[in-house]
């Protein structure tokens, strides 16, 4: 059996070489790029690389670093929420003065630092991990490989994109060590907490560094986005028209468009905030008294900041989830050995989601004093997002339905994504109603909703992508057994963490409180539930450690790849050598003859994109 497969693979490889020779596109790339002067030593290969594959790996590893940081922060505040009476003195060697030890020797988490942890956890996970770590990694790795390009349109800007992200990371990381602590006013940085340095400890130097880090991050996101859009539109190989692009590319492309149009708006908002902080203007500050002192600010509007913030903030959640959707579509189709169901509906629904994402921002502000009649408008458009989302879910399920599914770590995580996206999406319908939001706003219901639909689901998309494309990134496989332990533990564990929060939220337990409302009589019966959540969170954390160990161990010691196309996938990245060098393809770039989803067709298990259409075969690209 193994022999037969080997023969089949060999003949496909020969076919690929023959077809690429005959019909491939010759851009004379290697005649212009003698040797490999861009990657001649350690520094230019691994550090200051302009190669998109290396930049993708840089984004991924920086993202993993921040994911671990953010997860450890969440463990500290989950300990506080689950066991508010517990002695945390053992954390003093790590957290230092943020653990206050009283006379009895009982260590308590400083409440100010609790807010800082929640704030930085949110900022880091939303921007550094699920934006840079997810779309940064996979857009960089996959766009040139899957559309058949030698590299990005501007590899230099691409490297800058990573280095601005790195700068943002450094500034944000250093802010953790300030004596007044990092910013503590919530990841949304609403004024006046963010606008007045005297408002709280973290609002001083911590907020300044937060703003600087975010400004660098926005520059990074814009440079990356401009590059992705340009590359997708201009550097596709021969025959790769838009309707033949894999759904991953569509997802990264639409994500980049959303980012390029929404991040500048956040930059405007943050600039005005900077002037309010340090130059004495009153864009966001109205008459205000701090510590008994009347400030000379007049007539500013804090709601104005919320409008500017959420005009980015809502599209931002789609910047996070769309790449995961693209990855899941691709991974499900490959491992189900079936064409993706409703390819065009998938693309159109992503476009619809992208469009709608720009006209729903005020649903984050229903309770901020927005006119209720204006709220109706936002309710309707918010609920309409359920339609394209349901189209996508239906198509994923139809793709998997009746298939000869290959259960491995990558495909399991893709399935898990669909489950989480349904569970988290349904609660969005509750929150999108401005009247139900009166009860649910700022409770643990909101925390449960966005963690499941955007946090954990996007992570599942990312894991599916990492397990699936790890062989392309490092030429080795990750350990399957550890991968499956990681999957089942994380799936069950994440539901155990976030499902109970729906109940506490419906009962009205407010988010961001230091003790999860335990000081209120009406919420005291949730103590055990909170302990359960904390224990589940600790278990889930250690399962992620399993993943990280598996990841780094497999880079050096994983099972080696012996064929170019281990999953039997149709897309172009699997036609490159096992360890693709500068320029990706050693000779000509293969020409594309068909769409990416011809699985189980005409007696063949898969028909790669470089195989010409047979007589009478339907061309999905027209």
């Amino acid at each position: 059996m193994a022999e037969m497969t080997k023969v089949a693979v060999d003949s496909l490889d020969t076919l690929e070489e023959k077809l690429t020779q005959e019909m491939g596109y010759d851009d004379h790339f290697h005649e212009h790029h003698h040797g490999d002067k861009y990657q001649s030593n350690f520094l230019t290969t691994y550090i200051f690389s302009t190669d998109h594959k290396m930049i993708g790996r840089q984004f991924l590893i920086t993202g993993i670093f921040w994911a671990l940081m953010g997860a450890m922060m969440s463990l500290v505040f989950r300990l506080q929420l689950g066991f508010p009476e517990a002695d945390l003195a053992w954390l003093k060697p790590v957290l230092g003065k943020w653990i206050q030890v009283n006379d009895a020797g009982i260590g308590k988490l400083d409440p100010e630092f609790y807010y800082a942890l929640v704030t930085i956890h949110g900022t880091v996970l939303v921007f550094f991990v699920l934006t840079a770590g997810l779309s940064g990694t996979f857009s960089n790795l996959l766009i040139p490989l899957q559309i058949g390009a030698r590299d990005m349109a501007s590899p230099l800007l691409n490297a800058f994109s990573y280095w601005f992200f790195f700068l943002a990371s450094v500034v944000m990381f250093l802010s953790l060590f300030l004596s007044t602590g990092p910013f503590s006013g919530g990841w949304t940085a609403y004024p006046p907490l963010s606008a007045l340095p005297q408002a709280s400890e973290g609002s001083g130097a911590g907020m300044t560094m937060w703003i600087v880090a975010m400004a660098f991050f926005i520059v990074s996101a814009l440079l990356g986005g401009i590059n992705y859009i340009t590359t997708v539109l201009n550097l596709r190989t021969k025959g790769m028209n838009l309707w033949r692009m894999p759904l991953t590319i569509w997802a990264f492309f639409i994500t980049a468009i959303i980012g390029v149009l929404s991040f500048p708006v956040l930059l405007s908002g943050v600039l005005l905030l900077m002037f309010d902080r340090s130059m004495g203007t009153s864009f966001y500050l109205s008459e205000i008294v701090v510590g008994g002192q009347i400030l000379d600010r007049i007539g500013g509007s804090p709601i104005l900041y919320q409008h500017l913030f959420w005009f980015l903030g809502h599209p931002e959640v789609y910047i996070i989830i769309l790449p995961a959707m693209g990855i899941v579509s691709e991974v499900l189709s490959v491992h189900a050995r079936k064409p993706i169901f409703g390819y065009r509906a998938m693309v159109l629904s992503m476009l619809a989601i992208a469009f709608l994402s720009f006209i729903v921002w005020a649903h984050h502000m229903f309770m901020a004093g927005v006119n209720p009649f204006i709220s109706n408008f936002f309710v309707i458009f918010t609920l309409i997002i359920a339609v394209p989302s349901a189209v996508k879910v239906f198509n994923w399920i139809s793709t998997v339905y009746g298939s000869n599914f290959r259960f491995n770590s990558a495909s399991l995580f893709a399935l898990g994504f669909v489950s989480l996206f349904i569970s988290g999406g349904l609660t969005g319908i509750f929150l999108g109603n401005s009247s139900i939001d009166v009860q649910l706003h700022d409770t643990y219901f909101v925390v449960a909703h966005f963690h499941i639909v955007m946090g954990v689901a996007a992570f599942f998309g990312m894991f599916a992508g990492i397990y699936h494309w790890f062989p392309k990134m490092f030429g080795r496989f990750m350990n399957e057994t550890l991968g499956k332990i990681h999957f089942w533990g994380t799936l069950i564990g994440s539901y155990a963490v976030f499902w109970p929060m729906h109940y506490t939220g419906m009962a009205g337990v407010p988010r961001r409180y230091y003790d999860a409302g335990a000081s209120f009589d009406s919420f005291r019966h949730f103590t055990e539930l909170n302990q359960f959540i904390t224990v589940a969170a600790i278990i889930v954390f250690f399962l992620q450690v399993v993943f990280v160990v598996n990841f780094f161990y497999s880079i050096f010691n994983g099972r080696k790849l012996t064929t170019k196309n281990p999953w039997g996938a149709n897309t172009l990245e699997w036609t490159t050598p096992i360890q693709p060098g500068h320029g990706n393809w050693p000779g000509k770039i293969p020409a594309v003859q068909r769409w990416a989803y011809d699985y189980s067709k005409g007696g063949q298990e898969y028909v790669p994109q470089y195989v010409p259409l047979r007589e009478g075969e339907y061309d999905h690209g027209h």
């Binding site: 349109a153 405007s268 009153s282």
Partner: protein
């Protein structure tokens, strides 16, 4: 290392870098769109001091329009191969660009002199911030012009496709900051009494 590979099978002939510039311009447009809509929202909220825009801004508007014209004429001279005209007009553009920034500064001083200071009320703060961020974008354009000037005076005059592309990028960006200022100026005029 940009990929300047001619792709004969493509129907559109826009160069990737030029396309990237336009995507970047779209994001700058979004940024100023956010600024001007924040201006409108904040103005509608009341507590808004009215004042007349200083006349200096008419002068700066004229200057930047003129600079666009000189730059375009320089580009045409470059294409026709008229070297001295190309260099002279490019130098004139840089001078006009610097003059524009100087006049904007004079405009801010005139505003401060009439009592519309940076912090007195958001109505004036907005004008300082918006025109200031615009001036930063003009400074970016001036940096590009300086690079173009160095190319013009140091390298031998040879209108290769690569140099034409670089020049086009500068021209497009400069026209954009020009048009952007005209939009902002008209916006401020319509809003002020």
């Amino acid at each position: 290392m940009a990929q300047v590979v001619q792709r004969e099978y493509r129907s559109s002939h826009i160069h990737p870098l030029k396309f990237a510039l336009w995507v970047g311009i779209a994001s700058i447009v979004m940024m100023f769109g956010a600024f001007t809509s924040a201006y409108l929202v904040r103005r509608a909220a009341g507590n808004w001091y009215e004042f007349k825009l200083p006349d200096v801004f008419w002068g700066s508007t004229f200057v930047i329009l003129l600079s666009s014209w000189t730059l375009h004429a320089s580009y045409r001279a470059f294409n026709r191969g008229v070297e001295h005209l190309y260099k002279r007009l490019l130098t004139a553009t840089l001078a006009l660009g610097l003059l524009f920034v100087g006049l904007q500064y004079a405009g801010w001083q005139a505003m401060t002199a009439m009592g519309a200071t940076f912090t007195v009320n958001p109505s004036s703060s907005f004008i300082y911030v918006i025109s200031g961020v615009h001036a930063l974008h003009v400074l970016g354009g001036i940096a590009a012009l300086i690079v173009a000037l160095i190319y013009a005076f140091v390298l031998p005059f040879k209108p290769t496709p690569r140099r034409r592309l670089r020049f086009q990028l500068v021209v497009h960006y400069w026209h954009f900051v020009d048009v952007l200022w005209v939009y902002l100026f008209v916006f401020f005029l319509v809003q002020s009494p």
